[in-house]
């Protein structure tokens, strides 16, 4: 019974989840590229500091920027560690690369098993740390929504179960159940990517550029807004 579920989760469900994520992300990317080009086309000032904007995004990927500052240093560094793990383990774990190889026919560099184990542990601890940080910081706690609490928990699930899959002796549960939970939680996460804040994995890259373009107005836009609202003859 469980075996057939695992077969389903390993094969068709995984493909479906990956496809859903890819299509969803592609849609977001295409929409954003379209919107940005349209904004650029209309802007009165077309000198957009693309490189500066992208560099500002990239600066936030590396920890040196926030390690220099006292405020939120621990939280931001924890977030950095979490992101390293959450990207590296799914992509570069040897077991995963084998699946990618089997599904896509592509193969690449893999993490040494010991490093993967440590990264997994760090990711789980970091995710718990982020949740704790969210709880103790009153500003962060108050503005948080359901997904801000749920997604870190959902991220922990495939990492913990993944660790048990690799080290069955450490697992308190039945190996097949653990494997099934590992697959299903990871797939749920993949499907949720385009529909949740996880979409920042693609939209993040253009946010600074978007901001720059937002400030680059189409000449006459203010007047056109007035006309649309039927206020063209009204004064200030």
């Amino acid at each position: 019974m469980l075996e057939s579920w695992i077969e389903l989760a390993r094969g068709p469900l995984l493909r479906l989840a990956l496809l859903a994520m890819a299509v969803g992300l592609l849609r977001q990317v295409l929409l954003q590229v379209w919107e940005i080009s349209w904004a650029f086309h209309r802007a009165g000032d077309q000198v957009v500091p693309w490189r500066v904007a992208l560099r500002r995004n990239l600066e936030w990927l590396l920890p040196w920027r926030y390690l220099q500052r006292k405020e939120r240093r621990a939280y931001n560094f924890t977030s950095f560690l979490f992101h390293v793990g959450v990207i590296a383990v799914p992509l570069f774990l040897a077991g995963h690369v084998a699946i990618w190889n089997q599904e896509l026919g592509l193969s690449w560099w893999t993490l040494p098993p010991a490093v993967a184990d440590w990264l997994t542990a760090i990711t789980v601890v970091a995710a718990l740390g982020l949740l704790l940080g969210r709880m103790v910081n009153s500003a962060s706690r108050v503005i948080s929504k359901f997904q801000d609490w749920a997604l870190p928990v959902l991220c922990i699930l495939p990492f913990v179960t993944g660790f048990w899959v690799a080290h069955p002796l450490w697992s308190p549960f039945d190996a097949q159940v653990v494997y099934l939970v590992h697959l299903l939680s990871a797939e749920l996460l993949l499907i949720l990517v385009p529909f949740s804040k996880l979409v920042h994995m693609v939209l993040f890259w253009v946010s600074q550029t978007s901001s720059e373009l937002g400030w680059r107005f189409p000449p006459g836009s203010g007047e056109r807004v007035r006309v649309t609202l039927g206020k063209e003859t009204e004064g200030i």
């Binding site: 977001q28 929409l31 954003q32 919107e35 940005i36 349209w38 904004a39 209309r42 802007a43 009165g44 000032d45 077309q46 000198v47 500002r56 995004n57 936030w60 926030y66 405020e71 939120r72 939280y75 931001n76 977030s79 910081n137 009153s138 500003a139 962060s140 108050v142 503005i143 948080s144 929504k145 801000d148 529909f195 804040k197 979409v199 920042h200 939209l203 993040f204 253009v206 946010s207 600074q208 978007s210 901001s211 373009l213 937002g214 400030w215 680059r216 107005f217 189409p218 000449p219 006459g220 836009s221 203010g222 007047e223 056109r224 807004v225 007035r226 649309t228 609202l229 004064g235 200030i236």
Partner: protein
């Protein structure tokens, strides 16, 4: 346009009462938002009008792409709260920049994205209520649009842009501080063509008087050039300088004298006010003010636009002149401090180091420093002749706002809020320097800092412009 907008059902008073946060009773609205026009329209068709205005703005401007991005990516890490001097003062969740921006982003999600519209139909509850709109009207004018939080957002969200957009949409339904509207109306549609409603003869008298003052003080004949064609610079200062900051203007005039460039600048009699409240609340106003400046530049055949000591006037001209002035063809925009700095570097300014013996510190106006535009120039000028120059912490790009940014300084009704909440951190910062002179090269910052000092017991502090001190110390032959 109509088809894109959902008409909201009439909402009963009971439902409204249940939705209304305790802070927004009608009495509170009367008390706290009395400076906002149309205060009587507490219940009515505000949501429909807001959505129409929002839809029209999204259609014609470039905001949709950025708002769509911001609506999807926030991680709600609250890094911005650490950067916000208002939140650090109040610790009110409503003052977390991300919370504030989310008010408008949620309206966008609910009414302008497919998912939000579906969700809205499923839940059936009215999302955009009068109270939410009034909350926005209040909170987006609590924000001083200093944009310090944008430096702290890992995802690159510019909360200053969201504040600007929210205020723009609110202004299109008549919710905008009366002080800003009245000034702008006089500047663009009134007789005097300036925000302080000073008729030209009065300004001409002032200039004549200032020329005599300079003659008395410095013994030289300095003229304020008026309506001179073919000059390099056309000069726009905040008009309040002509009333209240005479020493700033005199300082600028003697710098031109000292550099032998008295015939390189001119003031226009038709439109001389550099103030552009459009930067704070309306793209429509922003464009109209800049087009006036361009018109005067063409009329007097000047080549560059020179802005006086004013943060927002400088930023609105510098950042948007290319937008409305034809891209590449747009005239260059120069801030007076850049001009004076060049004069100093070329050795054309003689500043007596024995004149200013008191301690001096420099306040960075957000609109000049946040993007890293003008930070070191005024400091080098000050260090060249002020013996006891000290820095505030934090400073430069990371400066704290004076607490009256984003046009809020013009709203006298909220002075207790400005000096008792938003300006408190600034007062502490100034107190820590022990300075006598706080140099603030911005008309808004000057007014606000004077009030902050007055209300926070900093009686020995004198808030001045950069050119005020230059005027005191300059040696002219």
């Amino acid at each position: 346009m109509e088809a894109e907008i959902r008409t909201l059902p009439e909402v009963s008073q009971d439902v409204l009462a249940s939705l209304r946060p305790p802070s927004l009773t009608p009495e509170k609205i009367q008390e706290r938002l009395s400076y906002i026009i149309e205060k009587d329209r507490v219940v009515g068709d505000l949501p429909r009008r807001f959505l129409e205005a929002f839809a029209a703005v999204l259609k014609h401007t470039n905001y949709r792409q950025v708002i769509d991005n911001y609506a999807r990516i926030p991680a709600r890490c609250a890094n911005c709260a650490c950067a916000c001097q208002i939140y650090q003062q109040t610790h009110d969740p409503k003052d977390v920049p991300c919370y504030r921006s989310n008010l408008l982003l949620e309206v966008y999600r609910r009414h302008f994205t497919l998912r939000g519209i579906v969700e809205g139909h499923l839940s059936g509850a009215p999302f955009l209520t009068d109270d939410l709109i009034l909350e926005m009207a209040e909170t987006y004018y609590h924000c001083t649009a200093c944009r310090r939080c944008t430096l702290e957002c890992p995802l690159g969200i510019d909360h200053g842009l969201v504040t600007h957009l929210a205020r723009y949409v609110l202004s299109e339904i008549g919710l905008v501080p009366r002080a800003l509207v009245i000034s702008t109306r006089e500047q663009l549609e009134g007789q005097t063509r300036n925000t302080s409603a000073i008729p030209w003869p009065a300004i001409a008298d002032t200039l004549e008087f200032l020329e005599e003052e300079i003659k008395d003080d410095k013994g030289v004949d300095v003229k304020f050039p008026v309506d001179q064609p073919g000059r390099e610079f056309i000069f726009f200062a905040p008009v309040s300088d002509y009333l209240m900051e005479a020493e700033t203007l005199m300082g600028i005039a003697v710098v031109f004298y000292a550099t032998g460039a008295m015939d390189s600048w001119t003031i226009s009699t038709e439109f001389l006010d550099g103030i552009n409240y459009g930067l704070f609340y309306s793209d429509w106003i922003l464009e109209r003010c800049l087009r006036e400046e361009l018109e005067q530049l063409r009329r007097l055949e000047a080549r560059k636009i020179l802005i006086g000591e004013c943060g927002h006037a400088s930023r609105s001209a510098k950042a948007f002149m290319r937008t409305f002035g034809g891209g590449e063809k747009a005239p260059p925009v120069v801030n007076i401090m850049e001009y004076t700095y060049r004069a100093l570097k070329e050795g054309k300014l003689r500043l007596d180091p024995d004149v200013i013996s008191e301690r001096v510190t420099y306040h960075d106006p957000c609109n000049l420093a946040r993007t890293g535009w003008i930070i070191d120039e005024p400091r080098e000028i000050l260090r060249s002749f002020c013996r006891d120059y000290v820095e505030m912490e934090p400073r430069g790009q990371w400066n704290l706002c004076c607490g009256g940014g984003g046009g809020t300084v013009s709203v006298d009704e909220i002075r207790p809020y400005r000096t008792g909440v938003t300006g408190v951190k600034k007062a502490e910062q100034i107190r820590a320097t022990g300075a006598h002179y706080v140099v603030a090269p911005c008309a808004n910052c000057k007014k606000q800092l004077r009030e902050v000092c007055e209300d926070n017991g900093l009686d020995d502090v004198e808030v001045v412009g950069l050119h005020d001190l230059i005027y005191k110390a300059i040696v002219l032959e």
